[in-house]
């Protein structure tokens, strides 16, 4: 497969000025939209059964960022979510823990306490999530508060307004500033809100922009708009991280978020990961699912595989 990777040499000074950054991003090859969607659809037809399915389900559970991002979140709900993240299926302790819980910054301390000692990480959205329409100082204060409360990961949103207006350097500088505020203790996930970027070309540009600015993860969406993670836009981002590693040697993770509700969908995404980025990404350090209802479906499928009977929503927690 041809790669879209520029050489490392070409990347050394693209961020020197707004115009050089624009020249670089607009110099990336255009996306063949039809080909991209056809490939994503073709990879979605793989049949994954029996032991491979069991492996995929456990892997997917271990990659879930169990998320609650509602105005109505209470400390009690966050604690319940933390307990579920640590033991997703209390009736079967062989079930792996999820990767993280994902909450608003003011709930980080509660979440941290709920998952203490389990290895489950606490991720916090920040930077005026989900719109990102706040002054930079406010966004940075948001990030610092979450990190100070103990967040292991920060999910930031980019300024889509600036991106769509072509002010790439502003977006770049904002990401580097947030990265700095994360310090060494928190990994940074950069959310592009692909549903608002209009074109696949823009998603490819945003991916490279985020990676150049030092993102540890690139993430499709907030889950708050009509179009969230799709196989096609995730495939595009997986190509970007593959090519970025080929060019620079730096590995970046991918997190599709929003709209992934069934085990079947999750397994399709894992096929995309394996066939595009490769096995190195089949690990919850490098790939995550941002989801809330997905976990219950994965647990029901897991119970089905274990017992041979179809399970039902009465046998998993309501959240």
């Amino acid at each position: 497969m041809p790669t879209t990777a520029p050489t490392a040499h070409a990347l050394s000074d693209v961020t020197a000025s707004d115009s050089s950054l624009r020249r670089f991003l607009h110099g990336l090859p255009g996306v063949d939209a039809v080909g991209l969607e056809a490939r994503a659809a073709a990879l979605g037809t793989r049949s994954i059964k029996t032991t491979a399915k069991a492996y995929a389900i456990d892997l997917a559970i271990s990659m879930v960022d169990l998320t609650t991002l509602e105005g109505a979140d209470t400390p009690g709900k966050v604690r319940a979510l933390g307990a579920k993240a640590v033991h997703p299926d209390p009736t079967d302790r062989t079930t792996p823990a999820t990767a993280a819980v994902c909450v608003y910054p003011d709930m980080v301390a509660v979440a941290k306490e709920a998952v203490a000692g389990s290895g489950v990480k606490v991720a916090s959205v920040a930077t005026a999530f989900p719109a990102g329409r706040a002054p930079l100082e406010v966004k940075l204060a948001d990030v610092r508060a979450a990190v100070a409360a103990g967040a292991d990961e920060i999910d930031m949103v980019i300024d889509r307004g600036a991106f769509l207006a072509g002010r790439y350097l502003k977006v770049y500088e904002e990401i580097t500033a947030v990265k700095e505020a994360c310090g060494t203790s928190a990994r940074l996930k950069v959310i592009f809100e692909t549903g608002e970027l209009s074109t696949y070309d823009n998603i490819r540009r945003a991916s490279w922009l985020g990676m150049l600015a030092g993102a540890d993860f690139i993430k499709t969406s907030t889950g708050k708009v009509a179009v969230n993670a799709t196989p096609a836009n995730t495939l595009l981002m997986l190509e970007a991280v593959r090519d970025f590693r080929a060019a620079t040697g730096v590995q970046v993770g991918v997190k599709p978020a929003g709209g992934i509700r069934t085990s079947k969908d999750a397994v399709k995404f894992l096929v995309l990961v394996n066939e595009t980025a490769g096995e190195d990404w089949l690990d919850n350090h490098w790939f995550r699912f941002g989801a809330s209802s997905l976990l219950n479906d994965l647990l029901m499928q897991r119970q089905k595989l274990a017992t041979g009977r179809y399970s039902g929503p009465d046998y998993v927690t309501v959240d």
């Binding site: 119970q303 041979g308 009977r309 179809y310 039902g312 929503p313 009465d314």
Partner: protein, 298 residues
């Protein structure tokens, strides 16, 4: 006349009825259905366990709306089914005659009785609560009320012999009280049941309230009986050994099980037993409030 063309036959593709849609079997399989003399009638879908799973998901999704609808509204909807059946009377007479080897006249009597049965159960929707519910006198300052509630998703194995009257006699009581149903049609004669799906789709019954599967009864019933999200099962269409096997599988999540009841005459007035079999009684203790000094709480 030279203008009179020999028309090509237009055969009907019988399909499943699941979630208000008409899918083929997920497995892609079909089986041949023939009349009592062995003449081929049509191919019917041979459902797999995944079709059963999809049907349960559809029935569960429909349960909230259907059980929450007013009893009066459910009665109106079921009466509408009878109206739609009346319009398709000729088609069902033909299908029943083929399926059961009856004369046109006898098949017409069966179809008429079937339509009347819908009307009969449609009338029961807003009366069953008065008959089996009640206000119970208790020794204390409380009201104690019992009200019948639907059980949930009910798997129904339709009778094998009576392909239409028998079918409706087991499906209508299940949904009249607010349950949703996954129906496994008669294995040998599934065509009237599959056509009933077309009637239900055009008669205000929300998609998913009734789901019709055709195929091998034993193959489809096994996953339904073991399914953790099915609340009850009616074994009318199972023979003795299959019924035993299914009852064992159903015990795991404490499903309500209605064992096969011998029915000599499907024409007879059925009584309310098939409705009460899939009702649960909810009892509410309701305080009357403290009595004031005057002796009245009002």
């Amino acid at each position: 006349m030279s203008e009179q063309h020999n028309r090509l036959s237009v055969f009907k593709t019988y399909k499943l009825y699941v979630g208000g849609k008409f899918p083929r079997s997920e497995s892609g399989r079909v089986y041949e259905v023939s009349d009592t003399k062995g003449n081929w009638l049509a191919n019917a879908p041979l459902s797999s366990r995944k079709d059963a799973r999809d049907a349960v998901v559809a029935a569960r999704k429909a349960f909230g709306g259907w059980s929450g609808a007013t009893a009066y509204n459910r009665g109106q909807v079921l009466y509408r089914v009878a109206e739609m059946l009346e319009g398709r009377r000729e088609q069902f007479v033909r299908e029943v005659a083929d399926a059961e080897g009856l004369s046109k006249g006898k098949a017409a009597a069966v179809v008429d009785a079937t339509i009347d049965r819908w009307v009969w159960y449609a009338g029961w929707t807003d009366k069953i609560a008065q008959v089996v519910g009640g206000a119970n006198p208790v020794a204390g300052p409380y009201f104690n009320l019992s009200s019948p509630e639907p059980t949930g998703v009910v798997a129904v194995l339709a009778p094998q012999e009576s392909s239409f009257l028998g079918l409706v006699s087991v499906v209508a009581p299940v949904i009249a009280t607010g349950n949703t149903a996954v129906v496994v049609a008669s294995e040998r004669a599934p065509l009237p049941a599959l056509s009933l799906g077309e009637v239900l789709a055009t008669s205000d019954v929300p998609g998913g309230v009734v789901n019709v599967l055709s195929g091998r009864t034993a193959e489809i019933a096994a996953p339904l009986a073991a399914h953790q999200d099915v609340n009850a099962i009616d074994l009318a269409g199972a023979d003795e050994s299959l019924a035993k096997e299914l009852e064992v599988a159903a015990a795991d999540n404490l499903k309500r099980v209605l064992r096969p009841q011998p029915v000599d005459d499907w024409f007879a007035t059925p009584g309310i037993d098939r409705m009460t079999a899939f009702l649960e009684t909810k009892t509410v203790w309701h305080p009357t409030g403290a009595l004031g000094a005057s002796g009245s709480s009002y």
